[in-house]
Assembly symmetry: C2
């Protein structure tokens, strides 16, 4: 049974760690957000794609959910010694991945480059960038006006008040729509709904394709708190409540089932007014057992 | 007494190793060929400039006369493991230098970038790119038509027959002419006359500036052989003899003194018909003593 996972960079890869323990990789497709992709220091950074690749290859540095565990930092250290401190902390092996992307992108599409790299990392799952086109995400903030998303996250530590999130319209990558259409189930992981998932679902044709499928989403919220990152601010900027209710509203056009945390059990009734089915379970993914248990829930394998 | 050295990538840096042992770095300027500069794998390679920098900083890998001695190759090895073998062999520290150049070139001129880097390497000599503009060198070959210079050297091992050497006209870097004018002596090192020195001397204003100076050149030839690289082929393509006689003809408009090797002593009389003064000495630079002795000759410090 073919499944497709929509993924951003932290929450969903954790769920993937669980899924890949109990499900054959050959039947897993992951469609990955690309809005934060950019050329940086001569390499091409596809942060969410790399996190997904490293997760499948058991290479991910789980301290930060980006980069490769045990990586060295010789280039970074040399650059600092020479007076240039890069805004992003990039390990040597991770940098090689980025440099290779930049080299291959001269003659190939991003989809082709990702296919090439994931094969070299012996990954059997299919990893599909949402688009092969450059896309851009900008955050309109109260304090600093319109800034890049990575500036918002790294330079300003996710602190500024968000007025608006703006991302460019891009075409789907060649296999995106077809992959959803041929899947038996679509899993929306607990990634940031506004900056990771909505960029995928707002691509032309995606929402239409999702409507014909069994779609299950894991809420990234417990109460009004997001598991990771500044998801709340972005929900507010789009006019949604910072909670699983906001997630239900955001996905309701195509969502069959929403998975929420035990701590939000009291919301079940209200949420069932918005989406057909609500499952209450533990959505905290601290241990591999947590991840496998949540994977079993979303895969109906309990 | 201010001196200026015109340099390419191998022969002249060897002479610089001798000069820097006996002459104050603060009074040394080096004007460096930039025709082979290029963006490569996300970094900016200024091969001759880096070789000169690494020579002054005692970092140069003398096995190849490029790169840093003792450097590691983690990025290169990772790229090969991932299926991409770069045409050039670049060490990690060397790559950091190249990445920093690419980063800084976004907001600065090449002259500024080199000044910044050489200061961080604690180099007291002044290192001046011949031009801040992109320049290009192409080799028209019998076998493969017009190819890039690095293809000629690396991909084809310097083997093809050379019909023509074509380089683009560029403007001098801001300090180039002034540096020559304020020097008491100009030393043209034993670099490739066609691909390293002529690109510098053919820049507008340089030949004029050299004419007012005491100019001494070390011939890169002994008999009809060049000390390093395929210099001979290029001389022939420009209609010059592959020997110190060709060098004398090439530089005669501004040359006061030509230094040739003992083995060419019999040419002295003929050469004095072309240039005012000819010095015969050992021009092989195998040991540091050789380099210092030759440095003493060109500096009149015997």
């Amino acid at each position: 049974m073919m499944i497709t996972i929509l993924s951003g960079g932290t929450g969903t890869p954790k769920l993937i760690q669980g899924i890949k323990e109990i499900y054959p990789q050959e039947e897993i497709n992951v469609i990955v957000n690309t809005v934060e992709n950019e050329y940086f220091s001569g390499g091409y950074i596809a942060a969410d794609i790399d996190t997904v690749m490293y997760t499948f290859a058991d290479m991910i540095d789980e301290r930060y959910w980006y980069g490769i565990k045990g990586d060295t930092f010789h280039i970074r250290e040399k650059l600092i010694e020479l007076g240039t401190e890069e805004l992003l902390t990039i390990g040597d092996q991770d940098r090689a991945i980025e440099i290779q992307k930049a080299i291959l992108l001269e003659d190939h599409t991003l989809s082709e480059v990702v296919e090439f790299q994931k094969n070299h990392l012996n990954i059997k799952a299919k990893i599909i960038p949402m688009s092969d086109e450059d896309s851009d995400i900008k955050i309109n903030t109260k304090e600093y006006g319109e800034i890049e998303f990575h500036e918002f996250l790294i330079k300003y530590g996710g602190e500024p008040e968000v007025l608006e999130v703006i991302y460019s319209d891009v075409n789907p990558s060649p296999e995106l729509i077809e992959t959803i259409e041929k899947s038996d189930k679509v899993i929306i992981g607990p990634s940031n709904p506004i900056t990771s998932i909505r960029p995928i679902t707002s691509i032309k044709g995606v929402e239409e394709a999702l409507k014909g499928k069994e779609v299950i989403a894991v809420s990234p919220f417990v109460g009004n708190d997001a598991f990771s990152g500044p998801a709340g601010k972005f929900m507010t900027a789009f006019g949604y409540e910072t909670s699983s209710k906001g997630v239900a509203e955001l996905y309701k056009a195509f969502l069959n089932t929403l998975v929420i945390d035990n701590q939000d059990a009291q919301m079940k009734g209200d949420l069932e007014e918005i989406v057909p089915e609500v499952i209450v379970t533990n959505t905290f993914m601290n241990s591999i057992e947590d991840k496998i248990n949540l994977a079993k829930v979303v895969l109906n394998m309990e």
